[in-house]
Symmetry: C2
Subunit: 215 residues, 2 copies
């Protein structure tokens, strides 16, 4: 095992590509379980993902699970270990900023709860939105953020118009949010201790359109 | 200019990372326009994105726009060129498979229309969903796909439960869909001439959770 892996484990800094692959491993394992499989090997997982088996072994080593020679990983155990490692079976709360079209859509999508995420409250500036309850989540005015904010809520979703994206991020960070899930196309600036993840729907569309029309 | 760029231009194969960055450039340009800027340089764009200016110049060369020495790119022209290049100002249609929680959310999000994408029809197997109209889109039974399908609709969104993801992809491809936008955690298998883009919300959550709790 190369040294940097040991360093990463001790610092808890699992590389981002590994973290991104793990939910796919989990999906594969759940499908395998549904088909009655008791054990899967890293080779089987790797073949499904079209990657190298050593990559799978390396990724799974962060969870500290150890496969058995010849038989591989026990499916039930590996599902448990991955769900715990990825924190999909404990609930983290977040706030949503911008209850427009995409924001409303996310408020109505309760699928994220299966991955351990729930939206505690939402904020908007539109008087027609403030006071509403969308999918069980109350919409407050942005000015009420400081008053409403609870210390256990550390994640903030940005679905505001792009003109407001950076100012919203600043407001969130000032209010104690230290992880930003950004759905806008704007590059969010924040200090290094703030986690920023971008989910650029339009970037994926750009690739689809280009490849489709390049045929 | 290295040779491979010329080759990519002639084959229309713009690298995926470049395509993914372009919508961010576009967002930056629109914000710059809103602030009254007439020209921006590749250095300004690069500074905003935290990347190298030569990367910006290289990416923008795919659109064939040429910046002016010292002043840079004209903001209005570059917005037009990028929107046309990314096909955000012409409408592409798609079908959605799986009108559950996330599927319904996407049907209600009309924001994608701003990026040149609209959902023409949706398909589900749930008798409670079939026949409904969600956000202006009719829900059909999956068995009606062959009958309903129009040849100009080439994009299919997958928001079905993961157990049905691969079978749904197979059905779509058999019906003539040649670009799949997959929102499940399942690795979709399709022949090389089918475009597959994954938007793994849970993968982004996994990174947020890990980084947040590693602090």
């Amino acid at each position: 095992m190369p040294n940097n892996i040991n360093n990463n484990i001790s610092k808890n800094l699992v590389p981002e590509p590994a973290l991104r692959r793990m939910p796919c491993y989990l999906a594969f394992l759940k499908l395998a379980k549904g088909e009655g499989l008791k054990y899967v090997s890293s080779t089987q997982i790797a073949r499904n993902m079209d990657i190298d088996p050593t990559q799978v072994t390396k990724d799974l080593s962060y969870t500290k699970i150890i496969g058995k020679t010849r038989v591989g990983y026990e499916v039930d155990s590996l599902i448990d270990v991955l769900e715990t490692f990825l924190r999909f079976n404990t609930m983290d709360c977040g706030y949503l900023f911008g209850a427009g079209s995409l924001g409303t859509a996310l408020l109505l999508d309760h699928g994220l709860a299966q991955f351990g995420f729930s939206i505690e409250a939402a904020f908007d500036v539109n008087p027609d939105k403030v006071g509403l309850n969308i999918g069980g989540t109350k919409i407050y005015h942005v000015d009420d953020f400081e008053r409403v904010k609870k210390p256990n809520v550390r994640i903030g979703i940005i679905t505001v118009p792009m003109e407001q994206a950076q100012a919203t991020a600043d407001l969130m960070v000032e209010g104690g949010i230290d992880a930003i899930w950004n759905f806008t196309a704007v590059r969010i600036k924040a200090s290094n201790n703030v986690v920023v993840q971008n989910t650029p729907l339009y970037a994926h569309l750009a690739v689809i359109f280009n490849r489709l029309h390049s045929k």
